[in-house]
Symmetry: D2
Subunit: 297 residues, 4 copies
């Protein structure tokens, strides 16, 4: 039986390849996590199990898709950065977004028991139909500075939200306020005000809070750090910006790169990515070229 009389419907698919030579960021966001957090009893202001689970899922996504050079996560969102020379799925937006979202979801659900079950005091199995799910979108950034500004935006947002949440929940959990009162009190306050509330009312020095909560989570392949004296952030960015198209690479180099990428440990750190230092010491993030593997002890 011929299928040809119906195949014309394929012509309605519209191409969605993203502009070449631009950085692709796929950001995913938890759907309806307020309700989900309530149902599964996430701790406030931060639930370490939930963050560890997000990070485990993000590491699995990066392992599955070596074209991702960096990921940044905070709360129920994660941003995955594909190198600007990336050709995966011919850069089709829907393929990139749906693959990241599906892989993340699969590992999140599958790894849930590792973080939320298995002990007497921590045993919260997932119960359908309220399962964790995520949506996603892709955005292109033409220059290194655009990309870094995107990540800066997310890390500053992490800080702003975490300071607010830390203060809010201190007022509720330790200060005996209800959420309306706490919201009212914080309306119009600046960072300094919140630091002051934390310190004077609850003896909490915000600076001593965990970096995991203050900085979010940065995921990347771990090669040997480069001496900052030998490198320069602005020059590195410009060199990368001036790359015009994916370099032609010999088959043996491609194989070799692939092996080094596969050997590299994917690490999760809670550090500042706004300052240049992070980038200067890890030039492989922008060049896309694997660095030197750390010496084994």
């Amino acid at each position: 039986m011929a299928n040809s009389k119906y195949e014309y419907v394929r012509l309605f698919e519209q191409p969605d390849a993203l502009l070449p030579n631009t950085w692709i960021v796929v950001r995913i966001d938890g759907r309806g996590f307020t309700k989900l957090c309530a149902k599964y009893g996430f701790e406030k202001p931060n639930d370490k199990r939930a963050i560890d689970l997000m990070n485990a899922a993000a590491k699995a996504v990066m392992t599955d898709l070596p074209e991702i050079v960096l990921a940044y996560g905070v709360s129920d969102e994660y941003s995955f950065v594909f190198h600007k020379t990336c050709q995966l799925f011919e850069r089709r937006a829907s393929k990139l977004v749906s693959t990241v979202v599906s892989t993340f979801t699969a590992f999140y659900i599958h790894s849930w028991p590792t973080f939320f079950e298995g002990s007497l005091i921590n045993d919260v199995p997932l119960v359908a139909p309220l399962l964790p799910t995520f949506d996603g979108r892709a955005v292109c950034y033409p220059s290194v500075q655009n990309l870094r500004d995107y990540l800066n935006w997310r890390q500053v947002d992490c800080h702003i939200n975490n300071l607010y949440n830390t203060t809010f929940w201190a007022l509720v959990q330790k200060g005996g306020m209800d959420s309306v009162e706490a919201t009212e009190l914080l309306k119009g306050t600046f960072s300094a005000d919140k630091n002051e509330i934390l310190f004077s009312r609850f003896q909490i020095n915000y600076n001593n809070e965990h970096d995991m909560y203050k900085k979010g989570s940065v995921v990347f392949r771990d090669y040997e750090l480069v001496n900052p004296a030998s490198s320069n952030s602005a020059q590195a960015a410009e060199a990368v910006d001036s790359v015009a198209e994916p370099p032609i690479v010999s088959k043996s180099k491609a194989e070799n790169d692939k092996k080094r990428r596969a050997k590299a440990r994917i690490t999760v750190e809670h550090i500042d990515i706004i300052k240049d230092d992070f980038w200067v010491r890890r030039p492989w993030l922008l060049t896309g070229q694997p660095g030197a593997l750390p010496k084994q002890l």
Copy 2:
């Protein structure tokens, strides 16, 4: 700390709302399922557990997203049809695709043990990192006939592939051929030839095979069937095509519709959706208006 200096990066997000007044089909496909089938020992040519799991996940997606009027699944793919008046997520392609893909993945992974574990002879737990994942895309169809031709295309494809696979695996499993020999034998054969091979060599009458495998799976809300004498497929399609914009509906009717939709059982059937009969008896699929709830016994 103001975040405004980085917020310009939001301007790089490009809008992706799908054309109004068109049917939206989100199709998802299993990623690398050949390898996955091998690893988890899926039966050939069809694994009932795997199909039941796909259908369970599809039902969960439809329950979560009432804007979906119909879903059609075969093998490792599923197509979800959003009504042409649907306004969900302002019709943004990436939100629609990623939400469907993530929800499907979540329920697929979470329901896996129900279908693949739990008995002595059926105990195949998922083991990371080879987890089932899916990608997806959205396509718009302006007219009912375009939409039906899309579904026809998938159901004809189901038939063609299943007849091939049934014959191929009979040759291998019962005929003692290896896969090269079976492929060679089937090259250039027509449907009649494959029917003949099945019947003469293996006493298999293809018509007696399960409809689940021959027709695929059709998922929809189940209301009272309409007498085909009182309805007419062409007229119904034209009436729906001539709708120009989402109807304005009173709040009470909207509430009422929502309740009826929520009460309706979501059913999975393995039936012909190419002929008019399927559509004539279920006018709610095209109108998007909930039908009458079946009388309870």
Copy 3:
């Protein structure tokens, strides 16, 4: 000399084909016509020479592009409707828009002397650099009703603006007001108020104004009108909506259609296109099939 090392730049062109099976409207608008009208002394509220020139350019565009089934013009704008089965330029938006805009501009400039020069009392040659130019955009409409509602929108707008302008300029030209006073007087008035002002102050019955100004200009190929008793607007629209793809047409029919289209006179009329009558009597506009050529006397 090989050009291949630079040809990669072609990959940056992004496809822009419009969704199949939808009506394409290309609308063009005069750029900065307020200044242009002032410089070339266009009469207010309407300049017949300018409208005739717009219509001449629109006819030339339709002659050049037989895929256009209808055009509607008012003031310094013109909308061109491509039939939903149109395959011109593979439906690429930029080709369609730029071709219409360029052809319109070319004939507008070239025909200017016919309408604005050549007599003692009418001799306004174009003088660079202030030349008339137009911009444009393409929009898709899935159903006949959507398309007709688009045209209705433009014709209602024509009426609203012309009634306003007629009253405004009567107040200025005959009533001795300046433009601030006239604007102030008309603020918040309804149609009935403006009709009343025209009639009581200036003895102008708006109904007696020229249809060219009240209705705008409708351009189409002129075949024999069909008896409205034998046709039905709703049915015709539905029949057209239910067309799923461009019909396969024999070469001889295609040739024949082309000849009939070329023979048909392109006419400009100033009539109501909101009521069904216009469409019922001219079924070729929606079917895209050429009608019967009028008998020659």
Copy 4:
């Protein structure tokens, strides 16, 4: 009369803003110029009148749209480069393309008599309906190198085509061949072969041909050239690439820039734009900042 019931049709317009922080190239191409050249007797291989007319129209476009930093023309095509920080028309593709195409067409038609009419031996008026028209498209380039490679591609193409055409028409006009014979002779030849044919058969040294034909036409605002020793192409490109967003400029500087741009002479030159020298000496092309106005004598 309210127009609101039809205004929903505006929702069908889909946004088409081009990605920020990328160079926008709008290229226009003559439609059906083979036929047009034949009808108006363009000289072969190059018609100086026609090229001068193209260049005059391109200059008018650049004068009208100061956001264009450079234009490059050859044969019946012209590429206009908008600076990557350009915000004109909110970067909407259809507005940019249609405005360029319409303005170019208007000046081309209007200036035709200047180049093709007015003397006994040169009097070829335009006669409708075969008027010159153009289509167009917009493409984004993220980096300076991408942009320069685009322009390199066009200039190399100019060279390849002109060498071919020069040899072809020498064979026809001076060698007595018909076009089939000339095509046959040139099949598979390299540049060196064509140079040899020109020289040995017709005593034509291709290097002595006019640069207008060999290099095409480069249009830009003319400021004081910069000493190449004080500038560096790679550094300049990198500095421009690393710009992340349109700079915030004081009102007085913006006014001042505008005036300097308006005062600058727009020049047409026939020079090499592939080598760095062109760019190093004219840094304003990439920075978008107006240079120093040449001293008046």
